[in-house]
């Protein structure tokens, strides 16, 4: 699954550690998601969406599309 997390984080001037703190996960998790190595759970995806005031599909995209 592709995602725009790194871009959104940069646009909001946040570090990986800050995003991790805001969403209650580790910095390793944020890094793995940004690199596309790990797909987050739905609750975590909703946390990202709420934080950036976007819809989930604005952040994550199925690679088949």
């Amino acid at each position: 699954m592709k995602n725009r997390l790194k871009v959104l984080r940069a646009e909001n001037d946040m570090t990986q550690a800050q995003l991790a703190e805001e969403t209650g996960v580790s910095r390793q998790t944020i890094n793995a998601i940004e690199k596309g190595k790990f797909d987050p759970s739905l609750p975590l995806a909703f946390k990202f969406a709420r934080l950036f005031k976007l819809q989930i599909e604005d952040i994550f995209e199925d690679e088949k599309n």
């Binding site: 209650g24 996960v25 580790s26 390793q28 998790t29 890094n31 793995a32 987050p40």
Partner: protein, 128 residues
């Protein structure tokens, strides 16, 4: 995150379990001279502490974040598979007298420990 507290609790329970196991193993010979009643009490205490260790592990798994949970789950799955395949194979080697010594459960426990640690390290490296 609050995982350090739960990791420490698991370490405490694991240490208690190992020490109680050592007491059962060596105490029967060197302290209570194979008194059956004392041995049974000590084994029951060891089992109860073991239950505490399992519950502490479950609580830790509930606290860690979802990537760490996945790494743990993968490591446990690999360890379970290795335990089943290697354990049965090792037992077969003993039953068929291919090896000249008894297949001890301690050898399997050692293999499980090594497998689990290796799987955790590989899992963490994969998601770095």
């Amino acid at each position: 995150m609050n995982t350090n507290k739960y990791t420490l609790k698991l370490a405490f329970w694991t240490l208690g379990w190992v020490l109680s196991l050592a007491l059962v193993t060596f105490g029967a010979k060197f302290i209570w001279n194979f008194n059956v009643t004392i041995s049974v009490i000590m084994i029951l205490a060891n089992l109860l502490i073991g239950v505490g260790m399992i519950l502490a592990n479950i609580r830790l798994l509930q606290q860690i974040d979802e990537l760490q949970r996945k790494i743990q789950l993968d490591a446990m799955g690999i360890t379970l598979g290795v335990a089943l395949v290697a354990g049965i194979g090792y037992s077969a080697l003993d039953i068929t007298n291919v090896i000249g010594f008894d297949a001890e459960i301690s050898h399997l426990v050692f293999l499980l420990g090594i497998t689990y640690i290796a799987a955790i390290l590989i899992g963490n490296a994969r998601y770095k």
